[in-house]
Symmetry: C2
Subunit: 299 residues, 2 copies
């Protein structure tokens, strides 16, 4: 059981993972490398599992990740308790680390952070990550929460729906005149397309729907892996693409983008995943995120 | 010598690295897994080096990276030759993969791509990466070129300077009134600050200069790892930060940002690194990038 783990040893394991080597952890903890090594070995005997892969830098095993996450949660609870007891000075703001998908970060997410009261001081550490990586960050305890399109709760986390982000297929008027002048289902098979990265399947899914399953988008395909860069590339006429409604609306009004199939929108549901942890700081942020999402996203 | 390497085996090694496992590479190449394994072993005997770490997914060793890069360059030369011979159909655009630092991608870089002629068709694959990772991507051959602040040529690459990106310390007027009302050298030690990520040292370097070496920026520090999100966080009043001049100028004119120390700007030189490779596609892109940078950056 977790409560039977020697907590000093758990902290030592965390230091080794964070510092990368036994020597660096020893320096950070002001003990000898051999003491660090003995504590990790004792912890491995206690748990009956190998916890670290002894590479450079070391990596936690799957069992090690469980202990490392426990260590991070422990550190956070301790910090929260000290803050509530008035023991932490102004120099030690509580850090709240959150993974956010790129389109949320580019549109509504920062608005949520400005709603969080300035006292007690928090430091936000945002990470822009895709779904696959987000689950690993939550599992390893490197982030406490995430805005993600994955509804599958990472072990030890709770999930709540935030709303749906709507995407519209759009292109610059000039691009549409040159490449999309004809039946859409033919044109989309060959017109240059912009995608976020190799894992972005939104555009292909859209084309398959329009073409009733007959093949995806063109092989002339540009990858632009920032949310704002993606929109800028579509506006610049490098290709067509699926643009978040909130980014597309002003550009459509200004005539810088035209919609390709206004009746065929794509909705992506978003979720808030967070550690099951009674942290006031995290609760404050979760509340601000939910309130902002309720206004910015579709219900 | 490279030219003595059995080229089929070199291609097989690349497939194993790209697909992640011997089985997946075998499926992609339409051969048996045992044939894949034998080719890799033969290549390792020929080179006298271990080329793959047999993890899941497999990883190339340092020697393996050299062969993998050679394989990618080989594939590119072959594609270019086929294109020049008119052998590649419209379905196979030449892919040009470039790593770009976040601030360049958010400001001037996309303008360069719109200058590249549409014929012959190219597909751009952009990767937004920091310096450390960029060198690895060039070394492994995962990108052919990079916009980076590192002047140190990656082995096998050439380097040319593009110009300097200028940064200004700025904050929202409301934030400046509340947190920076007094001597800057005192205020900056405690005022909340926005940084890109943990490796972003621009803000601390600026504070040390203003404070003549006496300590860095405040511990109340928000990490916002997109270029546009960073600027939006400063405008929203989460903290002060160093904003690229091109992004700051319109916001300063509109009164949404105020400069903190207009005479103390920070210049970051940028470089173009690319494979030493006679690829017409890459040369076209390099030319467009250099021309756009000459206009957008300081000389």
């Amino acid at each position: 059981m977790m409560t039977d783990l020697p907590l000093d040893h758990v902290r030592t394991l965390l230091a080794v993972v964070d510092e990368g080597t036994f020597d660096a952890a020893a320096a950070a903890l002001h003990v000898t490398p051999s003491a660090v090594s003995q504590r990790v070995k004792a912890l491995e005997q206690r748990t009956g599992r190998v916890l670290l892969v002894r590479t450079k830098p070391v990596r936690p095993t799957e069992s090690g990740e469980v202990v490392v996450r426990f260590a991070r949660q422990l550190a956070r609870l301790e910090r929260d308790a000290r803050a509530e007891l008035g023991m932490s000075g102004a120099r030690e703001p509580t850090r709240v680390s959150v993974a956010v998908n790129a389109d949320s970060l580019a549109t509504w997410f920062l608005g949520a952070l400005t709603r969080v009261p300035e006292e007690p001081p928090l430091s936000f550490e945002l990470r822009r990550e895709d779904e696959a990586h987000t689950a690993a960050l939550l599992r390893e305890g490197l982030v406490m929460a995430a805005v993600t399109s994955s509804p599958d709760a990472v072990s030890g986390c709770s999930v709540r729906p935030l709303g749906r982000m709507r995407y519209l297929a759009a292109a610059s008027p000039e691009f549409a005149g040159r490449h999309l002048d004809g039946p859409l289902r033919e044109a989309l098979a060959v017109a240059p397309v912009v995608a976020f990265d190799r894992r972005d399947e939104l555009q292909d899914a859209f084309v398959r729907r329009v073409r009733r399953g007959r093949g995806g988008a063109s092989a002339v395909r540009h990858f632009v892996p920032t949310s704002e860069g993606f929109v800028a590339a579509v506006v610049a006429g490098l290709g067509w693409g699926l643009v978040p409604e909130v980014q597309a609306d002003p550009l459509l009004s200004a005539g810088r983008l035209v919609p390709l199939a206004p009746d065929r929108t794509v909705d992506v549901p978003l979720y808030w995943q967070q550690w099951k942890l009674d942290s006031p700081a995290l609760a404050t942020v979760a509340e601000a995120v939910a309130a902002t999402a309720a206004e910015a996203l579709r219900g």
